[in-house]
Amino acid sequence: MPSSIDILWFIPALPLLAAFIGAISTQRMRSVASGSALSAMAVSFGLSCIALKDALAAPGVHQVNNFSWVSVGTFNLQLGFLLDPLTAFMLVMVTFVGFLIFLFSTGYMKGDENYAKFFCYLSLFAAAMLGILVSNSLLLTFICWEVVGLASYLLIGFWFFKPEAAAAAKKAFITTRIGDLGFLIGLIWLHSISGTQLFYNNGEGFLETINLVEATAPALFAISAIGILLFCGAIGKSGQFPLHVWLPDAMEGPTPVSALIHAATMVAAGVFLMARVFPLLEFGSALTVVAYIGAITALLGAVIAVAQNDIKRILAFSTVSQLGYMMLAIGVGVWEAAIFHLLTHAFFKALLFLGAGSVIHAAHHEQDIRALGGLAPRMKITFATFSIGMMALAGVPFLFSGFWSKEAILHGAHTWSVSHIPFYIGLVAVVLTAFYMTRLMANVFFGKPRSHAVEHAHENNWVMTLPLTLLAICAILLGFLGTPAFPWLQAKLLGKDLSGALEFGKIFEGPGLMITSIVLVALGLGIGWAIYGFRKRERFGDADPLEKRFPGLWSALEHRLYFDELYAATILKTNSLLASFSDWLDRWIVDGAVQLVSKLGTLLGFINRDIDEQCLNAGFNETAEEIRGIGNTYSKAQSGDVHGYLRVMAWGFVAIVILVSIALNI
């Protein structure tokens, strides 16, 4: 039996195969497409569990399987696969949540005419994500990273006939691309410094050699800059401020896609990457940037989520906010808490999204919470599971997983030596989270139905409720993997034995840290219920209670603090300004210069002719013509002529050879 590191590549390869099958199956073979996708995920899940078992047997050991990809002369580029507890936990989470989402999709997308294509894209997405997880090379990570971007583009724009969906897909693609540019630059820079792309290679990967680097100022600067550049990629993918704008728009895709993107995969990629290269970040001063960006994002997402009306949009902004938490955790140096929160969040957010999908499906694609209402008695399972998800997200104490992971982050932030500002921002976000989730629950499940479709809503079939139930169970149980009393997960992730640090006193450490946050959660829930629970919404058109009180603030929040408008006004404007400037430059300066030369030639010719006619009468005519000919030739250089370009290439080749030979003193 081969060890699991050798078969690790099967985990992404199987969904890729399923994607291929999905790509070639016709509409009539739809069950083949979904069947292969589901079974690929199931087998991958099984393999991931084996990998997890192997990884847990030796925490703190990074098993690698490297191979040479490109070898030209002395340049040798290696790719590889890596197995350690971080990878293994993420693998299990992604394959499990992915499998449930796939299962849910078979119900949700039943009527869609591009069913097979959908599963093809889903599998491609999963394959790329799993590729990121098992990669042992920044380059391989980047390749998969881009494939994730492509797949998310395809999935968000799956209903491309809707203009909003098409626009959202483009937005997601382009916005994340901005971040990826930073990633790419960082990657190349890193390669030029360290000469390797491998994370771990028996003491030669850059994460291992980083500790040997002397902390001189240039090295510190370079490594910090690389860290920040890599973080740019994470900003794009994980929807951090200021590139968070694509994430809520991505809700235009089918709901399982939203669940997949927001819960398990795409947004997790950024956090995972940061956790993976943590030794690199730790070395420089990039972590501070990460912490502040994370804190800002956490607050921003929570604030905006308060005033949204689309059920999926609220969840999207809560994702933005939670991702901010995770980045905050990484920034303050407790990346194991970030991963813990990532795992718990993946489950309860997938649960929430699929619950929302269930609601939407039952309510005939009604997504506006003002039009829903009173669903609690009609959809009992959905209501129960959604409530569990909501309480996990809000951080209701002791029973729900979100509480434990959030606690771990806040604890880390509190002990951060640099500043306490992120910690206080986090506390504010805790209140807001509890508040907007209460608002969501009150509007969707209580009161009375406010549209015709909702009145006739009923529970969905097992394909959709089974994933909900399973996820709900996980959303509760998973928290106990990492309680302060028993930090098993953290210990495994760090590869250290933390049992010595097992202190019950930690719970009440500091200024009553845990008590504070419990109080804050209660506060949020209380305010929320006070505003939305007691006086329930009567009609669709009623203004929100908060809207009546603070109309200006509300509309700003409703418009997501005008980020889109801001970007449209600044970046897009700048872009088109730049474009028209280039146009102008080309039209007037370049072309003008060419024209000028030719005009000059003509002028010279004219002058010549005048002299000519008076003095020599004939001789210079030819010269003038010649010069005009040269002028014409110059202006032809800009003619879009293939030959011209070819010729320039030939001249360039000659020039390069000459230069090289001069340089080499031949």
Binding site: R587, S639, V642, H643
Partner: protein, 103 residues
């Protein structure tokens, strides 16, 4: 000056002739033929290096030449199809006329 030098100069001259054709002829077909010649010159290099390599018995150069010929055939087919399409579009195969994209 060794024999390999002679082979290489032969191929370099052939390459330059192809380049000259590609640069100085305006008919798309002839430009394409010039490019084919350049490919052939590259093949000559492969074969020459193979002949004078220390271990010619594994035949890498010849393999390369065979694949290169196959790709050149595909290139010729597609290129000529493109020329026919251009011709249908603007009833001329002068490459100077195919400058719709000029600034």
């Amino acid at each position: 000056m060794t024999i390999l030098h002679l082979c290489l100069i032969f191929s370099a001259l052939l390459f330059s002739l192809g380049l000259a054709a590609a640069l100085a002829r305006s008919s798309g077909i002839l430009v394409l033929l010039g490019i084919e010649l350049m490919l052939n010159a590259a093949n000559i290099n492969f074969i020459a290096f193979w002949k004078f390599s220390p271990n010619p018995e594994n035949g890498t150069g010849a393999m390369f030449a065979i694949f290169s010929i196959a790709v050149a055939a595909a290139e010729a087919a597609v290129g000529l199809a493109l020329i026919i399409a251009i011709y249908r579009h603007q009833s001329s195969i002068r490459l100077q006329d195919a400058n719709t994209l000029k600034g």
